[in-house]
């Protein structure tokens, strides 16, 4: 769950994420990004939504991307990946990227259940916890408004 109103655009999530996955503090290799509007003092943290019906998974012809039935996690099996990169173009949210240095595609893997972005966010703008009724209510409300605005923008 994200709370953009709490995000201060500090990059802590990006740094924690890239360090966790690559051992380097490099936001370009982060699986999460904060989109910023500095003049307005607004920023929004964004990462993989672990879609119900993931586009990245649908276009992967070798079954390298799978969704765990129990946890809902959408993960990449790097060994199986043949590097066609269709998934990076297919994700409508831009949450799966290609790393030319390592020649791999990468996305959020929820750090095996302990997301470092959540751990290091100083303002609790990102949360990772069991869905409660109240949380689901909020999610539905936000999604409805999101869909409405998206229609307008397109």
């Amino acid at each position: 769950m994200i709370y953009p109103e709490k995000c201060i655009g500090c990059s802590s999530c990006e740094l924690a994420c890239s360090f966790q996955h690559t051992g380097e503090f490099r936001p370009t290799k982060s699986r999460i990004s904060a989109i910023r509007w500095p003049k307005m003092g607004v920023s929004v943290p964004l990462t993989c939504l672990q879609c119900e019906d993931p586009s990245c998974m649908k276009v992967c012809m070798v079954g390298a991307i799978t969704k765990d039935k129990e946890t809902g996690l959408v993960s990449i099996n790097q060994e199986k990946c043949i590097g066609c990169r269709l998934c990076t173009a297919a994700c409508p949210f831009g949450n799966i990227n290609y790393d030319p240095e390592e020649a791999i595609v990468f996305k959020c893997d929820l750090c095996d259940g302990e997301p470092q972005c959540v751990e290091f966010c100083p303002n609790n703008a990102i949360e990772y916890r069991e869905a409660t009724d109240a949380l689901l209510q909020r999610k539905k409300k936000v999604s409805a408004k999101f869909a409405e605005i998206l229609e307008e923008v397109r």
Binding site: E5, L46, V59, L86, A89, P92, G94
Partner: protein, 252 residues
């Protein structure tokens, strides 16, 4: 459950679909397998993953099989580095190296297996070991732009009639899976060149970054019905677009 022994060590296998090579890799034994890719069907073409197998009921006889294709059978005893296997693997490395003498991957293997090339004449300027990973990758992608052509010493990987392949989408998966780096893919000024064909790379309509070939995006559009206009932004800008909508959702 299937029980086998690998180099004397007992191994229990729960997934009956696994091949010997899967098991050998899983328990941490390293054997060369250039034509093997976990995401693609095995074909046993490089022959490097050969192992010696036997069963107590075979009266001391053993046979040599390619482990990437051989299923796990109950009671199998597998030797991954027996003298017979090493000898055979060495010959295979020598033959491959004679064909592709410049390949770093093969040179490393030769060093590891102490295989010199003196017995066979070498071929000039050959990089491909004919393992077929590229053609399998292209097949799995559902594109089939390249295949093996000709037979015997004339055998090679090529697009139909050696012409720039019409149905290729320039995704580069063939080059990515090639174990010896034999497939050339270059990118300059928004043009990707592979298999003698030039592919225009899409410029992100927002930031101008080149990110995927136009043919790849058309393929996504034709096969999955994703609107083309939604495919013309790079991942970063797609993310920004979502961010913008979220910003409006929360702050306007």
């Amino acid at each position: 459950m299937i029980k086998i022994r690998v180099n004397g060590k007992p191994v229990a296998i729960h997934d009956e679909d696994k091949t010997l090579l899967d098991v050998i890799k899983e328990i941490g034994i390293n054997i060369p397998a250039l034509c093997y890719h976990p995401g693609l069907p095995a074909r046993g073409s490089c022959r490097l993953c050969v192992v010696e197998i036997t069963k107590p009921s075979w009266n001391g006889r053993s046979k040599i099989v390619t482990s990437c294709l051989y299923p796990c059978e109950d009671g199998l005893e597998v030797l991954t580095h027996s003298p017979k296997v090493i000898k055979l693997r060495k010959v295979i490395i020598k033959l491959l190296l004679a064909r592709c003498s410049d390949s770093k991957e093969l040179q490393e293997l030769a060093l590891q297996y102490n295989a010199d090339v003196s017995r066979f004449g070498t071929k000039e300027n050959e990089k491909c070991i004919l393992c077929g990973l590229c053609t399998r990758a292209c097949e799995e992608m559902g594109i089939e732009a390249i295949s093996m052509v000709n037979r015997g010493w004339k055998k090679e990987v090529a697009p139909p009639y050696y012409e720039p392949p019409e149905n290729c989408i320039g995704c580069g998966a063939c080059a990515e899976v090639c174990p010896v780096g034999a497939i050339e893919l270059t990118e300059t000024n928004g043009i990707r060149r592979i298999w003698n064909r030039e592919f225009e790379i899409q410029k992100c309509v927002e930031c101008g970054k080149y990110f995927a070939t136009v043919a790849q995006l058309e393929h996504l559009h034709n096969k999955y019905g994703i609107p083309l206009k939604d495919l013309k932004t790079c991942p970063e800008c797609s993310k920004k677009r979502v961010g913008t909508v979220l910003k409006k959702t929360f702050f306007d």
